[in-house]
Subunit: 132 residues, 2 copies
């Protein structure tokens, strides 16, 4: 079951400068920093209700986020929906609707991307927070 918007990622070129601007607008301090070497990013997260708003700075130009930043500039990157069971949702939606394998995000989140073409250009992803 899809229960919430788990996180929303925005790409930025300069994480430290972006954090200052977002802290001012959101009126709250950044909650946590993450470094995902395999994905080639550093990130900063804000907690807004039940959702993480995540600022993501690529650390390599040849990563998926790095190429997206180069092609599209700063701004929205992806929306990730929180699910109880990734396996169940993949079975329900169908393997062919996904792009790439399950991978690990921050804090051991298990995430899998949906094909963007499936949803009118929207970049969606599913996240299971606490895999069994």
């Amino acid at each position: 079951m899809i229960g919430k918007v788990h996180h929303i990622n925005f790409l930025v070129r300069d994480l430290d400068a972006a954090v200052v601007r977002w802290e001012r607008v959101l009126g709250m301090p950044v909650a946590r920093y993450d470094r995902l070497a395999g994905r080639g990013v550093v990130a900063a997260r804000f907690r807004v209700g039940e959702t993480w708003i995540v600022l993501v700075q690529p650390t390599r130009a040849d990563s998926v986020p790095g190429r997206h930043l180069e092609a599209h500039g700063e701004g929205f990157f992806l929306l990730s929906l929180g699910v109880d069971s990734l396996d169940e949702e993949i079975a329900r939606i169908g393997e062919g609707s996904f792009a790439g394998p399950v991978r690990s995000g921050a804090e051991g989140w298990q995430v899998r991307d949906l094909q963007a073409a499936l949803l009118d250009g929207a970049q969606l992803q599913l996240t299971e927070e606490n895999p069994a």
Copy 2:
């Protein structure tokens, strides 16, 4: 205070076709349709946790959403943060950080857009749901 992600809007060219695709992926029926003649859009909403995911189809090319669709194609349009009081947040963040006046959204929501340049290209907005 900013309490939650109130809604996330995605632009689509064909609302009826998009609803079919999103219903399949989200595993739930669309919750509500809205027509905002002044804004020049028709929209369909899904309820995911405390957030509305909104598909928006422009009905006029010369509207703000219509011009955005033309320039950027389908996909993410804006993220709106739910606030207790729009007046208080505008006073806190500063009038100069906003673009345009307060306007009415679906169901009488009062919304105001932040300047995109302020936040590294992210299109953010504030929504007050039940103005006094």
